[in-house]
């Protein structure tokens, strides 16, 4: 029964956010379509739009699914159900991360296929693309954790603004790291130690943020 209620809460979130997911996939696909047109202008614009689509969905899911649920007082309704605060946290993390993974994986596969088959972008860019795509994933986890732990719109917005304003800065510094950019024009993806460190760092951050969220939530004494 415990698993069943968590499953129902996850399914509920999926039903509520289907449109957002479809729209983000659509926006990402359009961005890749722009890249396909060739030339520097469309490639830069398409790439930026592609990441904006990922950042948008990564921002909207925690806001609509967690912050608004509390703000609009739906949380009291959910907590009247046979669910504990830690089960609610589990359901929210699985549903938010799971929902994000749908457009994330779909668009990344589409991007890799495009890079490998159309020759518009060299395959050496795949590792960088994966690192860049990992950032909205880290951002989503941070915003999800802040929304769950912070229990207020303010914390959600603070996490949101911090994440979204830091992407540009990180991109800037990444562009100046020879270890990352050396093989970007290579005809095959090169998984050098710097790339692997970045990817490992992102994965570590995701695990750390979600683990901390669970830990803090499990110690809370008042939930609604």
């Amino acid at each position: 029964m415990t698993n069943s209620i968590v499953r129902q809460l996850i399914l509920k979130d999926w039903r509520l956010n289907r449109l957002q997911l479809l729209l983000s996939i659509g926006a990402g696909m359009i961005a890749l379509g722009v890249v396909l047109r060739g030339g520097e202008g469309p490639m830069v614009a398409g790439t930026v739009w592609f990441f904006i689509a990922l950042i948008m969905v990564g921002t909207m899911l925690p806001i609509s699914g967690i912050v608004n649920e509390r703000k609009k007082q739906n949380l009291a309704f959910l907590m009247s159900l046979p669910v504990s605060s830690i089960q609610y946290t589990t359901a929210k993390i699985i549903s938010t991360v799971g929902m994000f993974l749908v457009p994330w994986v779909t668009l990344l596969i589409a991007a890799v296929v495009l890079i490998e088959t159309r020759g518009v972008v060299p395959p050496g860019a795949i590792p960088i693309a994966l690192i860049l795509a990992g950032m909205p994933f880290v951002g989503l986890c941070l915003m999800t954790g802040a929304a769950l732990v912070g229990e207020s719109e303010g914390w959600g917005i603070a996490a949101n603004v911090s994440c979204n304003s830091s992407y540009g800065l990180i991109w800037y510094f990444m562009g100046r790291m020879p270890g990352l950019m050396a093989d970007v024009k290579s005809p095959v993806p090169v998984w050098n130690p710097t790339v692997l460190k970045f990817l490992g760092g992102e994965l570590g951050l995701i695990v750390l943020i979600l683990g901390l969220t669970f830990y803090i939530q499990s110690r809370k004494r008042d939930f609604v």
Partner: protein, 298 residues
């Protein structure tokens, strides 16, 4: 011995500007208990502790035999809880909410849900954002009642409702009780609602339970005595009289343990008893709260 649906012993909870102080509360199975208190009295905090949503700092809470908050999940399978600050999903229909709750509770009764839809004048296909406040409260109550809970806990369910909607909701709660074994705890600052359906009434003020007994006992024990006090006569302090207000030759004594002997005692002191009045629950509540606050000040 009657089984207790709710058993609260010595519960305390402290916040920066408010605290619940040694709350004791017992609700036997099959009873309707009304929890009356002014705004900020601690009704919602008490109810949240009962639901396991807020952890008490001290004391024991058992709901339907489950220790709270540790066993809140097991307990909540049999509790239907609705509060005034609870909202359904605006963008979804009532039918969607009904399907959601049905997917969770095996005891959901579709026929009863349909009956409630009809009685409350609701349409399942309507989105929540299109419902009035009264309709939203009824929709929430439908979702609570159709799952057939053993215990219904309602925090200010009638706040902001028009008299017709209030009547419909109270009637439905009374009907629920036709099914023996069900228990209802509901809080309100509207004494009329509580008086209408409760078997037992508990007054709470400033984080303390100030009185708890069955409705008839309240109404039997509380009286207001209007007295004429001739010059030179001093009214005696009598047991069972909690408050005497005198202006010139007229005095009003409020008794919380009235016996006919009280009137005789006043007559014997030289005062004349003009009238002995029964009190409404609201008057009893206000007098009780004022008395309790004076006691605290002393």
């Amino acid at each position: 011995m009657t089984d207790l649906a709710i058993e609260v012993k010595g519960v305390g909870k402290s916040y920066r500007f408010f605290s619940l102080d040694h709350i004791n509360l017992e609700v036997p199975e099959g009873e309707i208990m009304g929890l009356i208190g002014p705004n900020g009295a601690g009704k919602s905090t008490t109810i949240r502790i009962l639901m396991g949503l807020v952890h008490q700092d001290s004391g024991d809470v058992r709901v339907l035999g489950h220790r709270m908050p540790a066993a809140q999940v097991a307990a909540k399978w049999d509790i239907g809880f609705a509060s005034e600050d609870m909202r359904l999903y605006d963008g979804m229909t009532l039918a969607w909410h009904m399907a959601f709750i049905q997917s969770i509770y095996p005891a959901w009764n579709p026929a009863y849900a349909q009956l409630l839809l009809k009685r409350f004048g609701l349409r399942a296909e309507q989105k929540i954002k299109g419902l009035s406040h009264g309709q939203r409260v009824k929709a929430t109550l439908l979702l609570v009642l159709a799952r057939r809970p053993k215990l219904v806990v309602l925090d200010e369910p009638t706040t902001g409702l028009d008299p017709v909607a209030r009547h419909e909701i109270l009637r439905e709660l009374t009907d629920v009780m036709a099914d023996e074994g069900r228990t209802i705890l509901f809080s309100s600052h509207n004494t009329q609602d509580v008086e209408q359906i409760s078997d037992r009434i508990t007054f709470i003020d400033r984080g303390r339970i100030i009185d708890s007994m069955d409705r008839e006992t309240y109404l039997d024990r509380w009286r207001r005595l209007r007295l004429e006090v001739p010059l030179g006569v001093e009214l005696p302090a009598l047991p069972g009289v909690i408050c005497v207000r005198q202006e010139g030759r007229l005095a009003v004594a409020t008794a919380n343990a009235f016996v006919p002997g009280l009137a005789n005692a006043y007559e014997n002191s030289g005062a004349r008893v003009q009238r002995i009045e029964t009190m409404t629950l609201e008057e009893i509540f206000v007098a009780n709260v004022e008395h309790s606050r004076e006691e605290v000040r002393v």
